[in-house]
Symmetry: C2
């Protein structure tokens, strides 16, 4: 009943994650109200992806060119590599302004259910970049089953190298309540307890 072009737009919008028919339709009606300028700016930002977004050849992070801003920054400590699942985690870490090392983006985690094996991840490039300057590798995959599996796999893989391998701490989140925490978090919080 809608014009073909409208139906096509609604269909395309459903390719966005978590967007179903209803939401796509809402988006499409909103888009129809955009003026020429807004519509062009939107389309242009999509066209710019292929030219303006690259993958850092060193760490796998999003980059403007061959290397990302962090890998190009000489003020960063190349001796410490923080291994994360995705480029999004880099942003989260950077927001703390407490970490001055570099990153390595795995682009996923080992998952037998999803059929993601170590070879599908950005792991070989991590091994390749280890040199005499490398002191510590911090494994910061998510505290999920897959994240833990991947962390254990990496720890095992990196064992032969004379490096300090660390894992980010698990425990109660700041501002959290004991009675709202799940058992696994509480167990991790107990295991990780420190002398006061």
């Amino acid at each position: 009943m809608y014009p073909k072009a409208f139906t096509a737009l609604v269909e395309q919008l459903q390719h966005l994650p978590g967007v179903g028919a209803k939401t796509a339709e809402r988006y499409a009606f909103h888009i129809l109200d955009w003026d020429e300028e807004q519509l062009n700016a939107f389309v242009k930002s999509f066209a710019a992806i292929r030219t303006g977004i690259h993958i850092c050849q060193i760490c796998g992070n999003l980059a403007e060119s061959d290397q990302c801003a962090i890998c190009r920054d000489h003020a960063r400590d190349n001796g410490v590599i923080c291994v994360v699942q995705s480029a999004r985690d880099v942003i989260a870490m950077e927001k703390t302004q407490e970490y001055h090392g570099v990153y390595h983006i795995l682009n996923g985690v080992i998952s037998t259910t999803k059929g993601i094996l170590p070879d599908d991840l950005n792991i070989q490039s991590l091994i390749d970049r280890i040199d005499e300057s490398t002191k510590e590798i911090i494994i910061a995959t998510n505290p999920t089953v897959e994240g833990e599996t991947t962390a254990l796999y990496l720890a095992k893989l990196l064992e032969p190298y004379s490096l300090t391998i660390t894992r980010i701490a698990h425990g109660l989140p700041m501002g959290g309540h004991l009675d709202y925490a799940d058992e696994l978090t509480l167990i991790k919080a107990l295991e990780g307890r420190k002398k006061m």
Copy 2:
């Protein structure tokens, strides 16, 4: 910290209704995974809007050309005009397969808080299309404060014409429960009671 092109994409995605920074970022990361074909299809569907979607010159509905599919359909009863707020409502009505008249899309409702006055709506064209064949005008704006205001305004405006002016019924939705219904709905349901 992200490449400029990525930030630009995230910014543009935030122009979609109800999409904030977090959702836009999620969309953007998903879009980065699209292959060339998918990306082109998406962009193309946006470019096709201006050429493929028109506004029906008679009723204001979305149309492939100057007139929408319903206005062009000679099997429809032109004597009955159902006045709705938006093109979306036409789809909802058409799904019932019970209505065989035509539509008129107001493109909004009178709202003093949003500064939408009768002149901002598609009302003059409704008056203009009334002729000797017009028998009934069904006012099907939403049962909200603005929808009711608009319905009353239209009823007053159409009074001089020798037409039957009707308002869609308000009451309990089918499958609804009395104890979940709000007071206003119950009042309307009582007012609209019929002999069994």
